[in-house]
Symmetry: C2
């Protein structure tokens, strides 16, 4: 086995990575960043799998889609694998993001350091409430929602984050799409209707709680 089996990375999108693998790549990336912060330069698939909370066979299979097989007896080079995954996800690029709705959640998101460190640059904070105008949050001035097309065009915004109440979310989504934005992260508890070319990911803060409840219920049963 070669030191790094590097795929000649084709930019012709010929290779399709399964969606479940795509969803795990950011988790591997986070685990690798944590290892690098501990000055660890190589790791076995078992170590990386444990840090990421998956089984190692699944990890090896996932990384094989990236043409990354590690070195027998040595494992993975932490920095190199980190670069490979970041490139595959696209977070070596700079992604300009707008956040719409600067209530408590919008505030929390604007201040979230994990966005910046992963290549997401918040370029606009928008709120329909005129009272919010001229407020500064996380170093950015809150701007009226009507400025969306201008901000989107000026900054080449690709991703819009919706942090408004459910009743307003579809109108915001329509405006994001009209402004040429093709990826939406939706925190509002509602299903959005968008054209097929637009990707929507939905964050439901209660889903993780429900998974905990499932396990908690089983613990209660086991101690009876």
């Amino acid at each position: 086995m070669k030191e790094h089996t590097v795929t000649a990375r084709s930019n012709d999108s010929a290779r399709d990575i399964p969606e479940a693998t795509v969803a795990r790549l950011p988790v591997y990336l986070r685990a690798l960043v944590a290892l690098a912060e501990q000055q660890i330069s190589t790791c076995s698939s078992e170590e990386l799998a444990a840090a990421a909370g998956v089984n190692s066979a699944k990890l090896r299979k996932d990384l094989s889609y990236l043409g990354s097989y590690g070195t027998r007896g040595v494992g993975y080079d932490v920095d190199y694998l980190r670069y490979q995954i970041a490139r595959e996800i696209g977070v070596t690029q700079d992604w300009p993001v707008v956040i719409v709705g600067i209530g408590n959640l919008g505030h929390a998101l604007a201040n979230f350091s994990g966005f910046r460190s992963r290549g997401f640059r918040v370029v606009g904070l928008l709120d329909a409430d005129p009272d919010m105008k001229d407020q500064t949050v996380a170093g950015l001035q809150v701007r009226p929602f009507d400025d969306l097309p201008e901000i989107a065009t000026e900054n080449g915004v690709a991703i819009g984050v919706i942090a408004v109440p459910a009743v307003a979310a579809q109108d915001v989504a329509d405006a994001l799409v009209a402004a040429g934005i093709t990826s939406i992260l939706n925190f509002a508890p509602t299903v959005l209707s968008v054209p097929e070319r637009v990707d929507v990911r939905k964050v439901d803060l209660s889903i993780e709680l429900q998974i905990l409840a499932y396990h908690e219920q089983r613990k209660a049963v086991q101690t009876l």
Copy 2:
């Protein structure tokens, strides 16, 4: 096939549902709630799968773990399946929850209606900052962090939500565990060390953004 193939639900935890299925049950539940709100009383596995964003073979397999097979030619009874899944997850119970860290994120979580509607009842808001004391958020008075053991015991709290900065998260986790709490939902961008009996789920707000970036990058390539 019988109208509803009901499993005699054993409470002896003999049956293990795969973790990936557990993670999808709340998604099915959300889709069923949405269908019920549209006055839809039966649905095919294809319809439910589309609403939940999974393929229908996977959905049928997942539901088979609950002993739920629908009715041939009719599909699933929306209300009954909703009840089955809610019971399986345990959200037909009442789950007292505490939130630690009442900054912007803690505020947003305390006000999040999706918790209450899914059986999670916020019984305590805690913050170490003395300036937060006596503030009322979402109808609850913020209490000093030191009151945690008292609140946990009084309310039988099973689930703790950590919404403090990363540097404080491990101390909060230790205190939650010491107070007898066995499930933790962690929003802090850090890995927690807890005893084996304690379940931790981590919410990383940037992971969904990274998945969007992956698709966005591919769109950019495809239009070259």
